[in-house]
């Protein structure tokens, strides 16, 4: 290795450091805020690593009885919205890919462009009229606006790249189209299923705008609950940051663990709802 190469390496690592540090420092600061007592959070200059960790901030968040309700609300809404989206979206992606019905992608494009709030006005009225507003059903249904296009879009892409030869062979052997889908196409598309599932879960979990309109006191999801904490608890930063970290921790874990799938899915069209 000559001098030039060594300098190049140093330069590369410096630039890597500069590029990654905003993300790292932010999340470290978030963790720091969540682990400090009020005295440390209110001190200037700021304390980065406190002498005493305030684990009680986390205990407080979990101890507040509603937090677990909101957590389970989030689980139910995200779980149902993602499950339903997979149920209808995967076969649809398959059908669209095999029919080469590329024009239908326009609907998905429109869904991608439309601001989430535009869906809310008519659906809000509809849910009110149906008397569903006190339940989680409206949020599950409206989260489909986010999850269904993601799943369809990603599955079209995957089924377009899976080989047709096997399916043709199975059809010639007398399998029905459903059997071909179930036993030939679906197993091959497993990586695509993972991508669609993970992205649908993340974007549904993160969604805020639907909840803020449709959720009542008992039906809040975690992002809405955290938002409401901001307005009531302006000054206790420790528990607030702890709550924020708890809300986003599952998504961050998933991001680091399923990085490949997420990257593949996002570059496939970066479908984001809301």
């Amino acid at each position: 290795m000559n001098l030039r190469q060594i300098l190049g390496r140093i330069g590369l690592w410096l630039s890597v450091f500069v590029i990654v540090s905003p993300a790292i420092l932010f999340f470290l600061w978030m963790a720091s805020l969540s682990l400090k007592f009020e005295i440390d959070n209110a001190s200037y200059p700021p304390v980065f690593i406190p002498e005493h960790f305030a684990w009680k901030n986390y205990a407080d968040v979990f101890a507040s009885n509603r937090f677990l309700t909101y957590f389970s609300n989030s689980l139910i809404v995200t779980g149902c919205a993602t499950g339903l989206a997979m149920l209808v979206g995967v076969p649809a992606g398959y059908g669209i890919a095999r029919m080469a019905a590329h024009k239908s992608a326009i609907v998905i494009l429109i869904a991608r462009i439309t601001p989430g709030l535009s869906y809310l006005i008519p659906l809000f009225l509809l849910f009110q009229w149906l008397g569903l507003l006190g339940t989680l059903v409206p949020q599950i249904i409206i989260h489909l606006v986010v999850t269904v296009p993601i799943v369809i879009w990603i599955m079209i892409g995957y089924f377009e790249t899976t080989p047709l030869e096997l399916e043709e062979a199975a059809l010639i052997d007398g399998a029905t189209r459903w059997q071909v889908f179930r036993h030939v196409a679906l197993p091959i598309a497993k990586p695509g299923l993972a991508v669609a599932f993970i992205l649908a879960v993340i974007f549904s979990w993160n969604n805020f705008v639907f909840g803020i309109v449709l959720a009542g006191r008992e039906t809040r999801t975690l992002p809405v609950a955290v938002y409401n904490m901001i307005s009531f608890d302006q000054l206790s930063w420790g528990p607030l940051a702890a709550a924020a970290l708890i809300v986003t921790a599952p998504v961050l874990l998933l991001t680091v663990m399923a990085q490949r799938q997420i990257v593949a899915g996002l570059t496939a069209g970066a479908v984001k709802g809301g």
Binding site: I19, A23, L33, S118, A241, T267
Partner: protein, 339 residues
């Protein structure tokens, strides 16, 4: 690994063709050709295609009709009514639309949206491209660091907004402390009408630069190595290589990234709403935030629907403008005589 990058590449080109709407037909045609080439004969492949795949699509079609198409139709219809919660509805024709240009808050919101969007497209494009050039190099723990790098865009926006709010705090926030370290005066950040939009753009840029990076990285992976080899022989420096080889070749990907970024920035809601609610005053009230107030604070649903329709048309118009600019750019570069 190579499988993933290949999929990324294919995916990126697919995203391109569908977002842009041009060239997708050729691409599909060539795809079918290559498929037919693989199986040896085109005719039988065609025979068993339509229309028996409809049962696969119908459940999704029902859902899409219910949660996407129906709301759209209903919104357009509502936008023609005087429709306030708790009072009877009256058909008013285009009155809601005519009210828009005379509504100072709406006009202001359009301005805020445009400046917010312009900044939130340009800055992530610049930083994302630089980051992609770096991530295109080989270094230890690259995959892991890329995972860290994309965390901001996957994290729950409201949770992030909460922490940024604390960081923006004029007295206790860490940002003013950092400024003081490099000798700059403290700022009011989101509490000052003149700095609120740049401050929010800072958050948006921090959050979405990774997406641009990923898309451009896909583009870089698709560049052949020959131009670089000949450039090296010709003794081109790093900047020349970037300016005359890399940049033109990743242009299509930058365009996709810019388009996606534009659509997301125009619609940005979570960050703005959670940090400022459109304030101070209405200094950061974008169309989306104003739409929220009209529809769900004042419950003026007819007027809100009109805003939603105009808002959507604005996004479509901006997308069309980008497409037009791209065509112009292609023309000028062709006329520039690179042959």
């Amino acid at each position: 690994m190579s499988v993933v990058t290949q999929a990324e590449r294919a995916a990126a080109s697919r995203a391109f063709s569908s977002e842009v709407g041009t060239g997708s037909r050729e691409e599909n045609a060539s795809k079918q050709e290559s498929r037919a080439g693989g199986s040896g004969d085109a005719a039988p492949a065609r025979e068993w295609r339509p229309p028996s795949y409809w049962p696969f699509v119908i459940p999704a079609l029902v859902v899409v009709l219910a949660v996407i198409i129906f709301p759209w139709g209903f919104t357009i219809w509502m936008s023609l009514q005087e429709w306030k919660v708790g009072s009877p509805t009256v058909f008013v024709g285009l009155a809601n639309y005519l009210r828009l240009p005379t509504d100072p808050r709406f006009v202001e919101a359009v301005g805020h949206t445009l400046s917010y969007t312009a900044l939130s497209v340009v800055l992530p494009l610049v930083f994302g491209t630089l980051a992609a050039v770096v991530f295109h190099q080989k270094f230890a723990a690259r995959g892991f660091l890329r995972g860290i790098f994309i965390m901001p865009m996957m994290a729950t926006p409201v949770a992030i907004a909460l922490v940024w709010t604390m960081m923006f705090h004029p007295q206790l926030g860490v940002l003013n402390y950092l400024l003081s370290l490099i000798g700059l005066p403290p700022q009011l950040w989101v509490f000052n009408p003149t700095t609120v939009i740049p401050s929010l753009v800072l958050v948006e840029t921090w959050q979405w630069t990774p997406l641009v990076m990923l898309i451009v990285l896909g583009g870089l992976a698709a560049i052949p190595t020959e131009p670089y080899e000949s450039a090296q022989i010709d003794g081109a420096n790093f900047w020349q290589v970037f300016r005359f080889i890399t940049l033109p070749l990743i242009m299509p990907f930058l365009f996709i990234a810019g388009m996606i970024r534009m659509i997301d920035a125009v619609k940005s809601f979570d960050i703005i709403f959670a940090i400022t609610q459109g304030g101070p005053g209405s200094a950061s009230e974008t169309i989306n935030v104003y739409l929220y107030s009209v529809a769900f604070v004042y419950y003026d649903l007819g007027y809100g629907s009109a805003i939603a329709v105009v808002f959507f048309l604005l996004i479509v118009a901006l997308a069309a403008l980008l497409l037009y600019l791209r065509k112009r750019l292609l023309w000028t570069s062709a006329l520039g005589g690179e042959a």
